[in-house]
């Protein structure tokens, strides 16, 4: 079980309030991702759930019990840190077994649980090595192993993949996804990478300056961003936000069109502009178009390889059904 409820939670460091009153419910078994730019308070929020930071006010409930004053070790949560935080002088076996040893479990049982965890994480060959002799991905797996053996009510991940190289990150992302499918345990995952958020989450919590901007499934956030911030943050490349006369035509202060919802033509269309940089990825072409009123440059994502080069004139037409409208305050207009 692992249902976590935050009620009216706030956090201040001295006089600066980093998290204004915040409510959030994380259902049992959900994979929740906290995403937001650096300094948005997502890690602080996670550390508050873990008990590593005190709450300034409000309270936290885990499985229906008030956990606000419960010490971190008794909350039944396991955390995986960005730096892995492995114990450098202990072998992998001892690292994974450490929480069990602290729980005064007997040695035979510890050995058996460690082996089970190591097997599921492909760490059997490394059990007697020290963390310093492992690669980044292996260290991350050890850190996950140390979390798994405790059989926690929920896993907390604090940017666990940001120290890995890009290829490894994709692999570990899948492994963590698999792990969630297998264990069905609540997982809370903090990242600043919206791709990680989109691919892994059941539920994404978008944060900015300690405030929850939107909570929803990845596709909800993609199709119906509640405001300009979420619209710009979710999706890659970023949504084009257009202000001024073009927006006024749709009775909005700002309109947003995702790069993949714009048609490119060399003969005619709604907007005319000049090609800046064209990024050819093979499967897609990202074209940066200059000279369009209210949005410069506008990014377009065209499927396949489009034969345009720097300086060409192109015409762009947004798909009418995929135009997002926002009012003066940046809130979505339906």
């Amino acid at each position: 079980m692992g249902r976590i409820v935050l009620k009216n939670v706030t956090k201040s460091f001295g006089d600066t309030q980093v998290i204004p009153p915040l409510d959030l419910t994380i259902e049992d078994g959900e994979f929740t991702v906290f995403v937001g730019p650096s300094g948005c308070g997502k890690s602080t929020l996670l550390r508050m759930i873990a008990g590593l930071e005190d709450l300034t006010s409000g309270y936290i409930e885990i499985d229906g019990n008030d956990a606000t004053q419960v010490p971190p070790s008794e909350r039944g949560l396991a955390m995986v840190f960005q730096s892995y935080a492995l114990y450098p002088h202990m072998s992998v076996r001892k690292n994974i077994g450490f929480p069990l040893r602290m729980a005064k479990m007997d040695q035979a049982e510890i050995d058996q649980k460690v082996e089970t965890a190591a097997q599921s994480l492909n760490l059997m060959d490394y059990l007697d090595r020290k963390p310093a002799d492992l690669s980044g991905g292996q260290r991350q797996r050890v850190a996950i192993g140390r979390a798994i053996v405790r059989e926690p009510a929920a896993f907390l991940f604090d940017e666990p993949l940001s120290n890995l190289d890009a290829a490894l990150r994709v692999g570990m992302r899948l492994e963590i996804g698999e792990l969630h499918e297998r264990l069905k345990t609540t997982m809370i995952y903090v990242t600043h990478d919206q791709v990680e958020a989109m691919t892994m989450a059941n539920k994404i919590v978008v944060l900015q300056a300690g405030v929850i901007e939107q909570v929803g499934s990845p596709l909800e956030l993609y199709h119906k961003p509640r405001n300009k911030f979420v619209a710009g943050f979710i999706g890659s490349p970023k949504m084009n936000l257009i202000e001024g006369a073009e927006a006024a035509k749709h009775n909005a202060h700002t309109i947003g069109v995702r790069p993949e919802h714009i048609e490119v033509s060399t003969t005619g269309g709604q907007w005319e502009g000049k090609v800046g940089v064209a990024e050819h990825l093979g499967s897609d072409t990202f074209i940066h178009v200059h000279g369009i009123d209210g949005c410069d440059p506008m990014t377009v994502r065209a499927a396949g390889d489009v034969a345009v080069k720097h300086g060409d004139t192109v015409f762009l037409t947004p798909q009418a059904q995929n135009i997002h409208k926002f009012d003066q305050k940046g809130l979505r207009i339906e």
Partner: protein, 312 residues
């Protein structure tokens, strides 16, 4: 191979200089230890100049081994060094952990803690033996005296007097005495060198990974377990460094021993060498060679014990 020649050539002067610096004194000591060489002898004036014709073989070594002070000096050298190492490491770790947490006045406390290290060894010895350890005029004498006065007063008091008259009169300890002068040296050197240990441990504690500690907290480790499983292993290397440096320094203690008891009942090898060197250079050199051997034995043990943690 040729690209290695130039660097070697460039190193040569420095290496040669170091070798000469080390080998000449060692060679002369060896040479003197095998001949009869004294500074002053009216009956055998030829012994006062070093010469191969005064060859004595292992005679000097035999003389030193048979002298009544030699075994005492070796025992004392080891006792003093080991006790100081033991005390400074334990006190150093405890104090470093204690002052590692932020508190008001931290800066001043740290400076005060470090300051004993800047006192000259001879001054340190004079201060301790006269002002603190002296059985009459020192702090010890005054403290023991006041406790005795208090006890006297209590004995005279009604009701409780009977109980306190069962208590013995306290005797101050004379630290210049044969049996205790080594302890005086251990106390004062520990006082002086604990700050060194604290300083090194403190810098090491500040580089301790905080996320590891947080992970340990979540894993259910209490304060003691964190200290035992994270902090102590983290300190293994600085402890090794402190032990090594201090072992080197304390094998050659001299000033404290001279001032506390003039070697009375408390000699270490350097002090014994000093005593022999008053006249008998041959015996002093032989003792010196023994000291070199002892230092090497200690070094081998230390490297065995400590080398592992340094290499990791």
């Amino acid at each position: 191979m040729s690209d290695r020649k130039l660097p070697r050539l460039l190193q040569t002067p420095a290496v040669l200089l170091l070798l000469v610096w080390m080998l000449i004194p060692l060679g002369m000591t060896l040479y003197f230890s095998f001949i009869r060489y004294v500074l002053n002898n009216l009956r055998r004036p030829e012994w006062t100049t070093p010469s191969l014709s005064n060859w004595r073989g292992f005679g000097n070594y035999e003389f030193v081994l048979n002298s009544k002070d030699f075994l005492l000096a070796i025992q004392n050298s080891l006792l003093i060094v080991c006790s100081i190492l033991f005390l400074t490491v334990i006190l150093g770790v405890l104090i470093a952990v204690l002052i590692n947490k932020a508190f008001a006045g931290q800066g001043i406390v740290r400076v005060l803690l470090i300051s004993p290290f800047f006192v000259m060894p001879a001054v340190n010895a004079v201060l301790w033996i006269n002002m603190i350890l002296d059985p009459v005029l020192g702090l010890q004498g005054i403290a023991v005296g006041s406790i005795n006065d208090l006890l006297d007063a209590l004995r005279a008091a009604p009701l409780v007097g009977g109980f306190f008259s069962l208590w013995p009169e306290l005797e101050p300890i004379s630290f210049r005495a044969t049996q205790t002068s080594a302890y005086a040296v251990i106390i004062m050197v520990t006082w002086q060198w604990t700050p060194f240990a604290v300083l090194i441990f403190m810098t090491s504690l500040q580089s301790e990974d905080q996320q590891q500690k947080e992970a340990a907290v979540l894993d259910g480790a209490g304060t003691w377990s964190q200290f035992r499983f994270l902090t102590l292993p983290h300190l293994a290397r600085p402890i090794a460094i402190v032990v090594m440096i201090q072992a080197i320094f304390h094998l050659s203690l001299y000033a404290e021993i001279e001032i506390v008891s003039r070697g009375n009942g408390n000699k270490n090898l350097p002090y014994l060498i000093g005593e022999f060197a008053n006249n008998n250079i041959g015996a002093a050199s032989a003792t010196g060679i023994f000291a070199v051997i002892l230092a090497n034995i200690v070094a081998i043990f230390l490297l065995r014990m400590i080398g592992k943690s340094l290499m990791e």
